[in-house]
């Protein structure tokens, strides 16, 4: 009861602080006056009476402090007071505050931005019910690889495992499709990019099993998605609804045309749900049964004999679906795997029956089911991006450490400058804990403000990061919006830095020998106090921090150098085709709905039309473009004891098959190693021919004698194919880091395919400069067929840069961080040296008065600087040796300890650091002895 009352009174007194302060003052005044009067009455002099009264009363300030602590809610009130004081102190030195805040903001922001991407890709749980019970299915192939795709019949069978799973969902990768509201013009502007969106096909139970609700409308009904369909309905993602339709509720019930097929939007999925891939975000979810209608063009792999006429849900050997099961509560992963495994094996029997060779049958039956947790979403990019993200996290962490070292150094220097103030406050009775608390408040305030600025920086940075870090040229759809997790992360980082790097300076600042500090008041104000000069034996904290900064910056600089060199090496890789003046156009003739004959005619007209353009030397088409991201594969049988054959193996070779028009090699600038390329006479009905690359030639034949041999394809579709007429040099087909796979080229005239890329070789000096050529290419495409969708026009160099985007992003970021680290370290060094010079002004003045020349003073200070740099560099080289090795897998064409890079980075660091130390040294050398000594 009394305690409650006490607190009520205390809280209330928070609001009448001034009144209470005045009351105490008045009481003390009254008390001292009465005492003095009494003392005087006892015969003391007025002076003595007052002094004795004061003495009997005790320390007035300590009393006031004690009184205040009793008065309000002390913690709250002191905090408010400390905060006010801290703000005042920070505003008094705007330079210090700005440097500290900026370095912190960069440190916190960089870490937060990278955390955002790491969180979205690697840590965060999907916003679905029971995410922890989701498992992704894949098949372990005899080779040990995990194969993530299943057929529809497999899905149906596995979904029957009700005792262990509450359900199983099937879905495809997202694919780009033309999407336009029903009724909009067929092609708004001929030759322009049509409106597109990302679509994914999903099973009927996709939303219901995952417990995903809607923002509007409904999700799929139990039958929508079940074959035969077609169920022309769609569920829109919240993001697309917001972006494209401004959250118009009338979108539900609207008809869309997706790749030409009419579908009705039945609902909008709940906000934040973007499917089960962590790095993809489909705009439209469509039932699996629309596979044919919307011309699904994604992974669709067939192994064995295939009946073109049957729908995909009757093909046990057409692999196109990703499967995710939800375990029943209490069912372990192993138990689920065992139950599903039994069904899986039964399904494999059906698949094996469709295989063409005994080897394939054995391989299929040897596959085993593997379950992996899917609660954080599936992500193909996880494998590629984990290592670079870890490297970036480490780098950002180092930058934060360097920034914090700066902060600690700034605080130390300031604390030193405030020694007199501290001594006075301690002298009049303030507790040390109280002062430490106040100094900590200051550093925490700095850290807090830095954290807020850092969040702003991170908000911008994550977006930049996601934009930069593209997986294989396709932008990652990662959700990196600022959320509670990121706020908590930033707060934790800021708080920890504030405490960790504010505590040491605060403790040091308050560990003062009061008497000597006060005696030296004036001197201390000019810098320096007793106890500091012993620095020769034990390295003072400030210097230690600078050595650490230099030591941490060096690995960063070396790393930056290594990554930039790797990137340069990658850009210079011989791609096997002539890049200068080569432009590639991506088209989707498949969306036109033409039959093969009409398409073949379209290809001819396209080539003709574009070749007629001024400045164009030659034109070709191919099924997937140079440096493209998709390709076809087929199996080639080894030659059976033909003369010149390599030792026969009983396995067939899996080769990439590329279908091209006859001038492909000339247009791409790929050189023949033997034989010839394709020619106009390789037309339909003529003897079937093929060109193979060097790798395939090596694998199948003795390398120099491949021309003239016959290839045998396993797929019956290529019966009678074909004679090798040429061997083309190996090239880079998808990305520059790959080692060449075996490739076979077939002329489109002899084996028809949809051709989705046009290569255009500009005449030398024809000003390949994009815009004009791109415009005429678009026009040519539109004039050839106004409905032809042109998806992109890019020079091959642009495409190369895009395929290297995540590597170049990593290189750029590490380069940026390296420079930032260098800058921070230089600032730190400058600060420490400037401060040390200021503190030793009188000593330097004395030396000069005694005849020391300026040069000597300059050398004296520079030697000190060099010593710090030397120690830092030594530590940094050791650290770099360990650190860069860990990054070796991400480097290309440069060793982890490349001497030139190490030397250049060390030299750059030493030079910048020396320059930072030179300014204070010059100031020291220009000390006026007279002024310096008077100051003392």
């Amino acid at each position: 009861m009394t305690t409650l009352r006490t607190w009520a009174v205390r809280l209330a007194s928070l609001f009448r602080r001034r009144q209470l302060d005045e009351r105490l003052d008045e009481e003390i005044r009254f008390h001292l006056e009465m005492q003095a009067r009494e003392n005087q009455a006892r015969g003391m002099s007025p002076e003595e009476a007052r002094r004795t009264a004061r003495h009997a009363f005790g320390q007035v300030e300590a009393l006031k402090e004690a009184y205040r602590e009793r008065r309000g809610v002390p913690a709250l009130e002191t905090l408010a007071r400390d905060l006010r004081y801290a703000v005042r102190m920070l505003r008094k030195s705007p330079g210090f505050t700005a440097v500290a805040l900026l370095s912190l903001a960069f440190g916190v922001g960089a870490n937060c931005a990278i955390f955002g991407v790491v969180d979205a890709l690697l840590l965060k749980s999907l916003p679905v019910a029971g995410a922890e019970r989701l498992v992704a299915l894949s098949a372990r192939l005899p080779s040990g690889e995990l194969f993530p795709l299943f057929s529809y019949p497999a899905y149906e069978r596995l979904a029957a495992a009700r005792p262990v799973c509450s359900g199983l969902v099937a879905f495809t990768d997202q694919f780009r499709a033309t999407v336009r509201p029903e009724g909009a013009a067929e092609a708004a502007t001929p030759g322009r990019m049509p409106e597109t969106a990302n679509a994914a096909l999903v099973s009927a139970n996709f939303f219901s099993l995952l417990g995903v609700g809607t923002a509007s409308g409904r999700t799929f009904g139990a039958e929508e998605g079940r074959p035969p369909g077609p169920h022309p309905v769609a569920v829109m993602s919240y993001g697309y609804w917001q972006r494209r339709y401004g959250r118009d509720p009338r979108v539900v019930g609207r008809a869309l045309r997706v790749n030409g097929a009419a579908v009705t939007v039945v609902g909008v999925a709940a906000r934040g749900f973007t499917g089960l891939f962590a790095d993809a975000a489909p705009d439209l979810f469509l039932p699996l049964t629309l596979h044919g209608a919307v011309k699904h063009r994604g992974n669709f792999l067939i192994q064995g004999s295939y009946d073109e006429a049957a729908p995909p849900w009757r093909q046990p050997n057409a692999y196109w679906l990703t499967l995710v099961a939800k375990r029943r509560p209490g069912v372990g992963e192993r138990q689920a795997a065992a139950a599903l495994g039994v069904i899986f094996q039964a399904e494999k029997e059906a698949e094996a029956a469709l295989q063409l060779t005994a080897q394939d049958r054995r391989d299929i039956l040897a596959e085993a089911l593997v379950l992996r947790p899917a609660g954080r979403g599936l992500a193909d990019s996880r494998a590629t991006l984990t290592a670079p993200l870890m490297i970036l996290s480490a780098v950002a962490g180092l930058v934060l450490l360097i920034a914090c070292a700066n902060l600690a150094n700034l605080l130390l220097a300031r604390a030193d400058r405030r020694r007199t103030e501290m001594a006075v406050r301690l002298g009049i009775g303030a507790g040390r804990g109280r002062l430490v608390r106040q100094l900590l408040t200051e550093s925490l305030l700095l850290a807090g403000l830095g954290g807020v600025l850092g969040l702003l920086f991170a908000w911008w940075g994550s977006r930049l990061l996601v934009g930069l870090v593209q997986g294989n040229g396709q932008t990652l759809a990662l959700d990196v919006a600022i959320d509670g997790r990121k706020l908590a992360f930033a707060a934790a980082v800021a708080l920890l830095t504030g405490i960790a790097f504010g505590l040491a300076p605060a403790l040091r600042a308050t560990r003062i020998d009061i008497a000597s500090s006060l005696k030296q008041g004036a001197a201390a104000a000019g810098g320096g106090a007793a106890g500091h000069r012993g620095g020769r034996r034990r390295m003072p904290l400030g210097r230690l921090l600078v050595v650490a900064q230099v030591g941490l910056s060096l690995p960063l600089l070396i790393g930056a150098g290594l990554f930039v060199r790797s990137l340069r090496n990658l850009m210079r890789v011989d791609t096997g085709f002539a890049r200068l003046g080569l432009v590639q156009v991506t088209i989707r003739p498949g969306l036109l709905g033409y039959d093969d004959g009409r398409l073949a005619a379209l290809y001819d007209r396209l080539v003709e039309r574009i070749e007629a353009l001024p400045g164009v030397r030659s034109v070709s088409l191919s099924d997937s473009g140079l440096l493209g991201t998709s390709w076809s594969v087929t199996d080639v049988e080894p030659p059976s004891g033909a003369p010149g054959a390599a030792p026969a193996r009983d396995e067939s070779i899996n080769v990439q098959r590329s279908t091209v028009t006859w001038r492909f090699f000339a247009t791409a600038g790929m050189r023949m190693a033997q034989g010839r390329g394709f020619a106009p006479q390789d037309r339909e009905g003529a003897p079937k021919v093929a060109v193979i690359n060097e790798t395939l030639a090596r694998r199948l034949f003795s390398p120099a004698r491949a021309v003239g041999h016959r290839l045998r394809f396993k797929n019956p579709r290529f019966a009678g194919c074909c004679e090798v007429v040429g061997v083309v040099r190996d090239a880079k087909y998808h990305e520059v880091t790959e080692t060449a796979p075996p490739v076979v080229y077939l002329p489109v005239t002899q084996s028809f395919e949809q051709l989705n890329a046009i290569q255009v070789r500009a005449a030398p000096g024809a000003g390949t400069a994009g815009a004009a050529l791109a415009e005429s290419l678009r026009r040519a495409a539109a004039e050839t067929d106004p409905n032809l969708a042109v998806f992109s026009i890019a020079t091959i160099d642009q495409q190369l840069a895009r395929s290297l985007s995540y590597r170049s992003a990593v290189a750029k970021l590490i380069g940026f961080f390296g420079l930032l680290a260098l800058l921070l370290a230089a600032t730190g060094l400058y600060g420490v040296m400037a401060y040390s010079v200021a503190r030793r002004t009188s000593e330097i003045g004395l030396r000069m008065a005694l005849g020391a020349p300026r040069g000597l003073v300059l050398r004296l200070v520079l030697r000190e600087t060099a010593r710090l740099i030397g120690l830092g560099v030594a530590a940094g080289l050791a650290a770099a040796l360990a650190a860069t090795r860990a990054a070796a897998s991400q480097l290309f064409g440069v060793s982890a300890f490349d001497p030139a890079t190490v030397l250049a980075a060390t030299a750059a660091l030493a030079l910048v650091a020396l320059a930072a130390g030179f300014l204070p040294a010059r100031r020291a050398a220009h000390t006026d002895p007279a002024v310096a000594l008077r100051g003392e």
Partner: protein, 125 residues
């Protein structure tokens, strides 16, 4: 040139001592204040004088430490205070016992007597 000072008075220690002393005396001081106020209202200086007179040479109380104690008693509702005029016509804060304060005084006095009686018996035995 600077030199190390010989006198090293660690301020944190002195601060710490102050704290323990007042904590130790808090209960005793409170009882003394309540007892002093039993006859009637009195200002801070008066209370200090009275305690010093009665307990001279036994209790060395910093006169200043009286004021936080007064504030605490007031916050606990055991005493109340108001502005008044002193003997020499100066504005002074007068403290008086509340009803709760009077009950507390009786209870505390009883406890204290029993305690000192017990201590006395123990020490004389």
């Amino acid at each position: 040139m600077r030199h190390e000072s010989g006198v090293t008075r660690k301020s944190d220690e002195s601060g710490g001592n102050e704290e323990t002393r007042s904590e130790l005396l808090a209960g005793t001081l409170a009882l003394m204040v309540l007892r002093t106020l039993a006859p009637g209202p009195m200002h801070g200086y008066g209370i200090a004088q009275r305690i010093q007179q009665v307990s001279r040479d036994v209790l060395q109380v910093n006169q200043g430490s009286l004021y936080p104690a007064l504030l605490r008693l007031e916050q606990r509702g055991l005493i109340s205070s108001r502005w008044g005029t002193s003997e020499n016509n100066r504005r002074a804060r007068f403290y008086s016992l509340t009803r709760t304060g009077r009950r507390e005084l009786e209870a505390e006095t009883g406890r204290w007597l029993r305690f000192s009686e017990a201590m006395g018996r123990l020490l004389e035995a």
